[in-house]
Amino acid sequence: MKIYISAFVFILWSIQVSAQDFNASLFGCKSDGVTNNVGSIQYAIDYIAKKGGGTLHFYVGRYVTSGFSLKSNVHIELHEGAVLVGSSNIYDYQQIDGRYTLISGVGQQNIQIKGLGVIDGQSKALALHVRSLKEKGLLSSEFAMDKVSQLYFSKTSNIAIEGIMQINSLGALNSFVDCQSIKLRKLEINSPQSNAVVLLNSSQVNLSDLFFKSTKQALVQEGTNSNVLKTNCLLANGKSI
């Protein structure tokens, strides 16, 4: 009986895993470093989610985008040389839970961002824009730069971020609020203005082989987090966190 059950489970699992691969160009994404691809990327994610899941592949090139939302079972693979470039206009970020997010997932399951590519938040240009808006009174003076998140997840489980380089974010690079089962592995973080990993009431967090080339704080824990494992996570001075 047990065998049958596990076979059944295996079949279910393999159905999920056999999900399809999609190239970004299928949805009209342009790698020119100019075209804002948010419409195409969001459509691709929604489309893949509707198909039951799969992987959206970005190959070498710079893909400018505004904020977009991830959906359950949609994985993103950034192949070597692929750069997801956040817009330098703060209004292009999605407002979720009082934050301005580039990539977000709320109430989702099974999310992956993997590969050898880069996510670039263009913090310099973004900071200039925020400052000028504040000076003109068009953005509340209370607006805090650290409310700009590169990756923001809430009430989401089974998240894996692996292999990529995360650079130049204005605010936290990786924020997890009420999330479970988080794996961050082999990330290179180079973002002097922002915190790298921020946990709030999250559990089963596995951090391994992370290198914090520059960051404000490598790991910030708020609320009650449980089962936070750290393996080989190094700061620029060679010290472990």
Binding site: L26, T35, N36, V38, N89, Y91, S132, L133, L138
Partner: protein
């Protein structure tokens, strides 16, 4: 009619009073006019900021502002300075199909008040490329559309402007170009003032100039339309809706369909219209066409002052029974006066992009027509001071419709067909054809043909009542008794 005028004046002051408040420059929000950066969200943020502040004007300095779908909100006016171009993104995925209207657009406004788009700048949908890209997405299999006539359905292509259930809308001085679908739709709005706009749009199928759907208190004046589909188009989508209290004044229209049109969708109705000083040229179908084919009504319409040059048909009034669902269509109290019209022998829109399709052959030149249905008659139409110039030359060997009872009654009723002046193919008159009508009065009407035609100037069939005072000519030569009346009563010909 005086009542109408006071109503308009009152309403005008209302609209102008609404525009006020502070100006904001787009650059303040980081909206970028470089022609490459996508500004959808920053424009939206600026609009939201202004509406939350109680209103204001967002000023676009000269530049090329690329955007996808944005929503205009209450008390916000977009001011496009001369040289400012709001450009539609060419990525179909940058547009929203709004859930209320079920249609795509660049600029939406849903249930907002005191909004406007003004200034000498341009809204350019760049729709041709967007439509082509959308077709490609269907072929790639990532977007579903039945591709009727090898193009996406018009609601799956973005318009330039779609406003629904808005109050006090001002559209002034702007230029509109090249959407992927219709140009601008105002749907169930109350208080729409369109003035001094320039619409040039022959970029893709269904490029209507302006579509006013079930709106009240509408002014369209001093505007110019050169478009691939209908130029000035009133529709009634809602059986309980109505287009009413409308003034169209000092407009010029060119179309590869019809210039001034009621319909095709005509579920509710149209009433209290004044159309003054309309110039129509190079237009493929009708200069003026009113259709009540979906159970709606048309009443109290005054058209005063039309110059129609090189246009395929002058007047086409039609009751049909297409999507009526048991409701009774009607058309009454229509006055059309002070018209000069020249109908050409050749295709009037030759050489324009997206020319109207050649169809309905063989037929000789079609007459102006007033055609009801046996059970739904068109009532009380007054034609006054009209000069029609036709090419004539109707050749019975090419197409023939006789005047005998059998021939006349053999003209099909076609109640459910798409209403178009050419739908009946050959008609038995060269100047005016009337069928299923009551009280059609002609006062000081002159018909001229330039070549002999085998048909008479006027044919009436099933007309109950009418006083006709008209003259027909072959060039300078008067044509005596150039009419035929069949199965009619109380028609007095002077």
């Amino acid at each position: 009619m005086n009542l109408l005028r006071t109503l308009f004046l009152l309403f005008l002051s209302f609209v102008y009073g609404a525009v006020s408040a502070q100006d904001y420059k787009v650059s303040d929000f980081g909206i970028n006019g470089d022609g490459r950066i996508l500004n959808t969200r920053s424009i939206q943020a600026a609009i939201d900021f202004l509406t939350n502040k109680g209103g204001g004007t967002l000023v676009f300095a000269p530049g090329n502002y690329v955007t996808g779908s944005i929503y205009l909100k209450s008390n916000v006016t977009l001011h496009l300075e001369e040289g400012a171009h709001l450009l539609g993104s060419n990525n179909p995925f940058d547009y929203v199909k709004d859930s209320v209207v079920n249609w795509q657009s660049m600029i939406f406004a849903i249930r907002q008040e005191n909004i406007g788009i003004v200034g000498k700048g341009t809204i350019n949908g760049r729709g041709f490329q967007t439509a082509v890209n959308a077709v490609e997405n269907v072929h790639k299999g990532i977007v579903q559309d039945e591709l009727k006539l090898d193009r996406l359905r018009e609601w799956n292509r973005p318009e330039n402007i779609y406003f629904r259930e808005c109050k006090n809308v001002l559209i002034k001085d702007i230029t509109l170009r090249d959407p992927a679908s219709w140009n601008q739709t105002y749907d169930q709005c109350d208080g729409l003032h369109v003035e001094g706009i320039y619409v040039d749009s022959k970029s893709y199928w269904n490029n209507d100039g302006i579509d006013v759907v079930d709106c009240k208190n509408v002014v369209i004046k001093n505007s110019f339309f050169d478009v691939a589909d209908d130029a000035i188009c009133f529709k009634s989508h809602d059986p309980n809706g109505v287009c009413e209290n409308v003034l169209v004044e000092n407009c010029t229209a060119r179309s590869s369909a019809s210039a001034l049109k009621f319909g095709t969708v005509s579920r509710g109705g149209f009433r209290n219209f004044v159309v003054r000083n309309l110039v129509v040229y190079d237009t493929y179908r009708s200069a003026i066409t009113f259709a009540a084919v979906d159970g709606g009504f048309v009443e109290n319409i005054l058209v005063d002052g039309v110059r129609s040059i090189n246009t395929g048909n002058v007047i086409f009034l039609r009751i049909g029974d297409r999507w009526s669902k048991g409701r009774k269509p009607s058309m009454k109290n229509v006055t059309i006066k002070n018209v000069y019209a020249e109908v050409p022998l050749n295709k009037p829109d030759l050489g324009y992009n997206y020319e109207g399709p050649i169809e309905d052959m063989p037929r000789n030149i079609s007459p102006a027509s007033i055609i009801g249905l046996p059970e739904y008659k068109i009532e009380n139409v007054n034609l006054e001071n009209i000069e029609f110039v036709y090419p004539g030359g109707g050749n019975p060997l090419f197409a023939h419709r006789g005047l005998d009872a059998q021939s006349l009654e053999g003209i099909p009723e076609m109640p459910a067909a798409y209403p178009e002046f050419s739908q009946f193919k050959e008609l038995p008159a060269w100047g005016l054809y009337i069928r299923h009508a009551k009280d059609i009065n002609l006062k000081n009407i002159k018909f001229t043909i330039q070549k002999e035609d085998y048909r008479p100037a006027i044919v009436a069939d099933d007309l109950q009542g009418g006083n006709w005072q008209f003259k027909a000519f072959l060039n300078d030569q008067a044509l005596e008794k150039s009419y035929h009346i069949h199965n009619s009563t109380n028609v007095n010909v002077k």
